[in-house]
């Protein structure tokens, strides 16, 4: 009996490709229930609870029952919740997010706000990734030295002080006192104007990335294969760049994907402080006005972005770690 028919066959590229395709496919398949579940929960939370959304539209003015019924039909509020949700999802996929309370299509409002937040997020992610990893590497390679202790203290402080306090201080110090940064960013801001808010937004994540990189580097640095690389005659720089860095970045990449969620929460705060007209302020205003369709749309959109970002991280992970195909 031939127990291992494939062992002597030349290992062509074909099985590898199917492995990778199946890995991506599996991730996509897993995303479907997660996407449905997350949007359903957001939908339920926003609509099925106390308070009448029609009353919210009307505000203080009394509204006639006929108009109320018409509004209900318009927002599908007369149908069962799950049906409402399915209709909503269907519309969503056609790019129809519904009409906001102010009469403008929600999609247009989001489109207008999105680029600003996107720029803000990019700045934050760059700060978090580049500075966090660099500082973490320095710290991890020089564990116990003065620079390590200093960086560690800074990171602890940044984590402990909430984003909105850092925001206020930055706004007050850099904007009001020194005048080197705008206090209020306002409409259609440039990259430069968004720099300080971006740094504020990325600060907490920077500290977490620093700590994680530090731990990871210090752990990989004592691995057997690093000693073997040293024994081969590689210089310290070669060992660090080729054998310590890449291996220790894997958990960091995972973290950066997962951290996008925290960044989104932070964006609401940051945009509020610096008066930036982005997705965060849109959401913040919708919350204050009780504009449920807007809340659901924005949060759903953020959930989708979050899921896609994590999918990308998973793929990046597969690129970084060749063993990933064997993982479940």
């Amino acid at each position: 009996m031939d127990e291992r028919p494939s062992s002597d066959a030349p290992c062509s590229l074909k099985p590898k490709v199917t492995d990778v395709i199946w890995y991506i496919g599996r991730r996509l398949l897993q995303m479907i229930p997660v996407f449905l579940g997350a949007t359903l929960i957001v939908y339920l939370m926003a609509f099925v609870s106390s308070g009448d959304p029609i009353a919210a539209i009307a505000g203080d003015k009394p509204i006639s029952p006929a108009v109320a019924d018409k509004l209900r039909a318009q927002y599908n509020l007369d149908k069962p919740v799950v049906i409402q949700w399915l209709i909503y999802l269907g519309n969503l996929f056609q790019g129809d997010f519904g009409i906001g309370f102010n009469g403008r299509p929600i999609i247009d409002q989001i489109k207008a706000a999105f680029p600003v937040t996107f720029r803000l997020a990019i700045i934050a992610i760059v700060i978090e990734t580049v500075f966090g990893v660099v500082a973490g590497v320095i710290s991890g390679l020089r564990k116990g030295t003065l620079i390590d202790t200093t960086l560690l203290m800074v990171s602890l402080l940044v984590i402990a002080v909430p984003t909105f306090v850092i925001g206020f201080v930055a706004q007050f110090g850099l904007g009001v006192k020194l005048g080197i940064a705008p206090v209020n960013v306002g409409r259609d801001p440039s990259w430069q104007n968004l720099l300080v808010p971006g740094v504020v937004l990325g600060a907490v994540s920077f500290a977490y990335v620093l700590r994680l990189t530090r731990t990871s580097i210090a752990e990989v640095a004592t691995a057997d294969h690093v000693r073997t690389a040293t024994a081969k005659g590689l210089s310290r720089g070669g060992v660090v760049s080729k054998h310590i860095l890449r291996n220790s970045l894997i958990p960091v990449v995972t973290f950066i994907g997962a951290d996008l969620g925290a960044l989104m929460g932070g964006a609401i705060v940051t945009e509020g402080i610096f008066n930036i007209n982005g997705i965060g302020s849109l959401l913040f205003r919708a919350i204050n006005d009780g504009e449920s369709p807007m809340i659901v749309s924005v949060v759903t959109l953020l959930v989708i972005i979050f899921l896609i970002a994590n999918l990308i991280v998973d793929l990046l992970y597969a690129v970084l770690d060749p063993r990933i195909r064997y993982a479940k």
Binding site: V34, A38, S50, A160, V161, G261, I268, V269, I287
Partner: protein, 320 residues
């Protein structure tokens, strides 16, 4: 085929046979039992290394002080945090008001001290709730495995996909009125996923160890195994995460209050006070400073405690 041993080759000029003097290398008993040290369990060992760690000592003392303030704020101030004397608004620090007063005439010190209770309560009970939900779901998913694990993992993914603050905003927005239990519930429902993931991973690595198999072979059923062997050995990373999470939940509560969807403005909370202090930042920066400082110290203490506990429980650090 075995190659011929190289015994025949003599590359050494003098092949001397050297024996160390016996008195220099006394022979011990094989695998002798060390009776010199006192018996110590892993937890006792961890406790010993904790006490010797200055980070732990500092954070533990701070947390103790914070807990005392949270339990008995009236010991430290005679002022009522809810009494605003509008005639005594914006006062500088004085004997009566050591931190001064706010624009509404509230005593800042009293607000900070009483705010401790809110933050600590929210942080602590959210941590309990999230650790229970995450711990139980994670342990079951990891231990049972298979389809059950797949379903629970997807449920975890669903809640993970809704970021803590966003989820809390959506719920808090719909709630008629927010109070402390409500905030705890909201944060707990969206804050358990990292605990579940860590518990699941930890349980999977423990359940395949020989001592669990040995226990099965001795006649223990799966439930006994899970409760008596797997969970106690898998819990260490969860304790660390829970400690750090406690700080994260306190920040989250403050953020919700800051955004105006947390506790109502009438209640005493650091987040709300920081938010209230913003308009007067130019003239009275200290109004912002005191509650922020209190918040930062509290969060810092728990994160440092988490770090110290991680170092103490790290099996790699303790090996040999």
């Amino acid at each position: 085929m075995r190659s011929e041993p190289r015994h025949s080759r003599t590359l050494r000029p003098s092949a001397e046979h050297v024996v160390a003097p016996l008195d220099e290398t006394p022979l011990g008993a094989v695998d002798a039992v060390d009776t010199t040290s006192a018996p110590r369990s892993m937890w006792a060992e961890a406790g010993r290394s904790l006490i010797r760690n200055p980070v732990f000592v500092i954070s533990a003392v701070l947390i103790l002080i914070i807990l005392v303030i949270a339990a008995f704020p009236s010991l430290f101030t005679s002022q009522d945090p809810n009494y605003g004397d509008i005639t005594a608004s914006n006062q500088p620090p004085s004997g009566e008001h050591p931190f001064g007063t706010t624009r509404q005439g509230y005593d800042v010190l009293a607000r900070v001290l009483y705010g401790t209770r809110t933050s600590v309560m929210v942080g602590f009970f959210t941590m309990i709730l999230a650790t229970l939900i995450g711990g139980i779901l994670g342990a079951l998913a990891g231990y049972v495995g298979g389809i059950f694990d797949a379903v629970l993992s997807r449920i975890t993914d669903i809640f993970f996909a809704i970021p803590l603050i966003l989820g809390a905003i959506v719920i808090a927005n719909r709630a008629d009125s927010m109070n402390v239990p409500m905030v705890i519930l909201v944060l707990g429902v969206f804050g358990w996923t990292n605990v579940a993931r860590i518990m699941r991973g930890s349980v999977i690595s423990v359940k395949n160890q020989d001592f669990v198999t040995a226990s099965t072979a001795l006649g223990a059923n799966p439930v006994i195994n899970l409760v008596k062997h797997v969970v106690p050995n898998a819990i260490a990373p969860v304790i660390v995460t829970a400690t750090v999470n406690l700080g994260v939940y306190i920040v989250a509560e403050a953020t919700l209050s800051f955004l105006g969807v947390g506790l109502p403005s009438a209640s005493v909370s650091w987040g709300g006070d920081i938010s209230d202090a913003q308009p007067a930042l130019r003239t009275q920066p200290m109004m912002l400073f005191y509650p922020s400082m209190a918040l930062a110290i509290t969060v810092l203490s728990f994160i440092m405690l988490g770090d110290a506990v991680r170092d103490a429980l790290d099996p790699k650090a303790r090996k040999r």
